[in-house]
């Protein structure tokens, strides 16, 4: 069941001759999934999020968020979304708790409910022990966690995250990605924008690739990879190549081809994870041993290159 239905959404700044930032985008987001918008800087990801957040009015089209139109009923839309902007949009001269109390009031919480949710969110983002410290004394990662926590205060139906890992250290990035996966596991729907291919690949149930305002591809990672029609390539090295081993590998399900040269073999497979254990087993049964493996998966970078003729720079 879709929680977001986007129908022909377009945004042109300074019409009629201004930039067409989003061009006739249509997609849906299923309840409980992580949906990523992947594209280079300036592709239209943030404009799409801004329209779905009711910050920008579309030039054309509409979207339903939890059955509420972003054009006809923006206040209802705002009450079911939690938005984590790209920048750290909290008050540095206030404590973590003061920030959450303020933002909770903006989401319409009050009284005991507000205090309870503030406590829960502080625990959720691991800032309970620093709740009385001013935010300007926090590390970058702590600020990011608080930034996410603000958007969770009112238990939104869907969480929008607009490039939340830009410019942060690997450890903080890991923490945020793990947090997002944990939220998904708790049933939260997530709309995530990024220009990092690896993040989209790791997090997403489905990915929309966007470029120059147009949605150029949409699907699961496997579906997108299939667009370029390539299989994973597995390069193997064995201590000694047995007679007939390559033929046996070729017959394994998921292996479409295999070639050998000296102690090295090259196989094309549908799913390297599924095939690799069988390859090890076959080698061991023949008395040989695989000494090195290199798997080259077809990836979104390749997909983007295939679709646009340009590289998706990380």
């Amino acid at each position: 069941m879709s929680i977001v239905e986007v129908r022909g959404l377009s945004k042109r700044y300074d019409p009629p001759k201004g930039v067409l930032a989003v061009d006739d985008a249509s997609f849906s987001i299923e309840r409980g999934e992580i949906f990523s918008l992947l594209g280079p800087n300036g592709a239209g990801k943030s404009t799409t999020i801004a329209m779905l957040s009711c910050l920008l009015r579309p030039s054309h089209g509409d979207a339903l968020v939890d059955s509420h139109s972003i054009i006809d009923d923006p206040q209802a839309v705002k009450s079911v979304i939690g938005v984590v902007p790209q920048e750290i949009a909290v008050y540095p001269d206030m404590t973590a708790r003061e920030n959450l109390v303020f933002w909770g009031r903006m989401y319409g919480l009050s009284g005991a409910e507000l205090q309870t949710r503030v406590g829960e969110v502080l625990e959720l983002v691991s800032l309970a022990d620093r709740q009385k410290d001013r935010v300007d004394k926090f590390s970058g990662g702590m600020k990011r966690r608080l930034n996410v926590g603000v958007a969770l205060l009112h238990r939104p139906s869907i969480l929008y995250l607009d490039e939340p890992t830009v410019g942060i250290d690997p450890q903080s990035r890991r923490s945020i990605l793990d947090g997002i996966l944990a939220l998904r596991d708790q049933g939260m729907t997530v709309l995530y924008t990024t220009h990092y291919m690896a993040e989209a690949q790791e997090l997403s149930d489905r990915i929309g690739i966007i470029d120059h305002g147009r949605m150029i591809a949409l699907g699961t990672h496997a579906e997108l990879v299939r667009i370029v029609g390539q299989e994973a390539r597995v390069d193997l090295t064995v201590d000694h190549m047995l007679e007939g081993m390559v033929e046996r590998w070729k017959e394994l399900p998921g292996v479409s081809s295999a070639s050998v040269e000296d102690e090295h073999a090259e196989l094309l497979v549908d799913d390297a994870n599924a095939v690799l254990p069988r390859l090890f087993e076959e080698a061991a049964e023949g008395g040989s041993r695989i000494t090195s493996v290199n798997v080259s998966e077809p990836n979104l970078e390749l997909v983007f290159l295939h679709l646009t003729g340009r590289a998706l720079r990380e």
Binding site: E98, F102, V150
Partner: protein
């Protein structure tokens, strides 16, 4: 309404934690008022332009009688002395006082007072018709030189009063000396009579003070013309001026929050743009009210300023805060970045302060400068504060508030439209 208060409270708390802003809003006006008040109200070594004095000499000496001059004066049959006022005028116009007094002689008292009313002179000195008669006369003859002063130019007034007072003291001393001489010259003269005359002069009674002066200021339309301490007038000017900056400090958060992302984030919550802007308007207003309350209290505690009747002060405070809030918000509606707000806002506030009289004080109503002051949002406010400090009632200051509140209405309309269009 809860959200409006939440936004206002959040901004108030941030301002309270912003030490540089507090220094600008609270310390600077007090320090400046103290320094300026000291300089123009109590200092003794300040380089200042000569005080403009309009001098009317209406002295009409009585004809000398054949049988003798006025008592204590010339001997019988002697040539009539020149009018005493000539010497008095000579003192005021002497070259040695050119640096401190810039005297213009006018034909009569009315002309002299008109120059003060018109802002062309700080003090009118009117030598009365009986000046010479009182000096040369006998017994209880008295005469008072009139000083008609601009109450806002207290430094110049004080200088003139001091010089006039000293000159009259000299005249009275001479008169006492003459009395002593007359007492000792007679056939039964003795030291007792001379001592009695001298004592009368020293004690300020009897023959001692034939010449005095009175000082008065023009009546304001509403006030009681009580003297207002210079520091009170200066502090009122500084208070209004720095309230503009205080309001601007908080109003600029609309732009900084837009830049930092917190304002757009607020707009993604189920909070309308109107509510957010109302919260911002409220926070600016409450901040300048708080600033004003602190400055009023500090004025009382540090300088002993009597701001006037409580109800008048309350109404005036709200009106001043409304004007400062509206002006700051309108500027935020016109500019787009905090940098522009700082540069353009500061320029606007300084120009308004110069035009409105925050640095120079109010002037009498008939001058051209007063007309300019009256057409600024702050000038009439300063007049109202001036009137309040003179004990003016609510009805008496009401007329001063019309122009500022009209300005404030325009400010709020412009701010509401422009900011509403920008963030709606």
């Amino acid at each position: 309404m809860t959200k409006v208060w939440a936004i206002a409270w959040k901004d108030l708390r941030s301002t309270a934690r912003n030490v540089p802003a507090l220094a600008m809003m609270l310390v600077a006006p007090l320090v400046l008022a103290g320094l300026l008040g000291f300089a123009f109200g109590g200092g003794d070594s300040f380089d200042i332009a000569a005080t403009k004095v309009a001098l009317a000499n209406e002295d009409t000496p009585p004809a000398m009688t054949a049988g003798g001059a006025a008592a204590g004066g010339a001997a019988a049959g002697a040539e009539a002395p020149p009018p005493a006022s000539d010497a008095f005028v000579g003192i005021l116009t002497s070259e040695s006082l050119n640096d401190v007094l810039d005297v213009t002689k006018v034909k009569d008292a009315a002309a002299a007072r008109a120059r003060v009313d018109g802002g062309d002179a700080a003090v009118a000195v009117v030598v009365p018709r009986d000046f010479t008669a009182a000096l040369y006369g006998s017994g209880d003859a008295r005469s008072a030189v009139e000083l008609y002063v601009n109450p806002t130019q207290q430094f110049g007034t004080a200088i003139t009063e001091s010089i006039v007072g000293q000159a009259l003291l000299d005249f009275n001393g001479a008169r006492a000396a003459a009395a002593v001489a007359a007492a000792t010259a007679g056939p039964n003269a003795g030291s007792a009579a001379a001592q009695a005359a001298a004592a009368a002069f020293v004690q300020g009674g009897g023959a001692g003070e034939a010449l005095t002066f009175t000082s008065r200021a023009p009546r304001t339309t509403g006030g009681e013309s009580d003297d207002v301490p210079m520091v009170g007038l200066v502090l009122a000017g500084m208070m209004v001026f720095f309230m503009f900056f205080g309001a601007s400090e908080v109003a600029t958060t609309i732009l900084t929050e837009a830049q930092d992302g917190t304002l757009p984030r607020m707009l993604t919550t189920p909070t309308s743009a109107a509510t957010i802007l109302s919260g911002k308007f409220m926070s600016v207003f409450l901040t300048v009210i708080a600033q004003l309350v602190v400055l009023l209290a500090a004025g009382v505690a540090l300088f002993g300023v009597d701001w006037g009747r409580p109800v008048v002060v309350a109404v005036l405070s709200v009106a001043t805060a409304v004007v400062a809030t509206g002006l700051a918000l309108m500027i935020m509606g016109v500019v787009k970045t905090p940098g522009q707000a700082g540069a353009i806002g500061s320029g606007v506030y300084v120009v308004l302060a110069l035009l409105g009289g925050n640095f120079t004080g109010t002037v009498t109503p008939s001058s051209a400068y007063a007309t300019v002051q009256g057409l600024t949002p702050n000038g009439p406010l300063l007049r109202a504060w001036d009137a309040a400090m003179r004990g003016g009632s609510l009805g008496e200051i009401a007329s001063y508030l019309l122009v500022p509140l009209a300005f404030a209405t325009v400010f709020f309309v412009v701010a509401g439209r422009r900011l509403g269009r920008r963030y709606a």
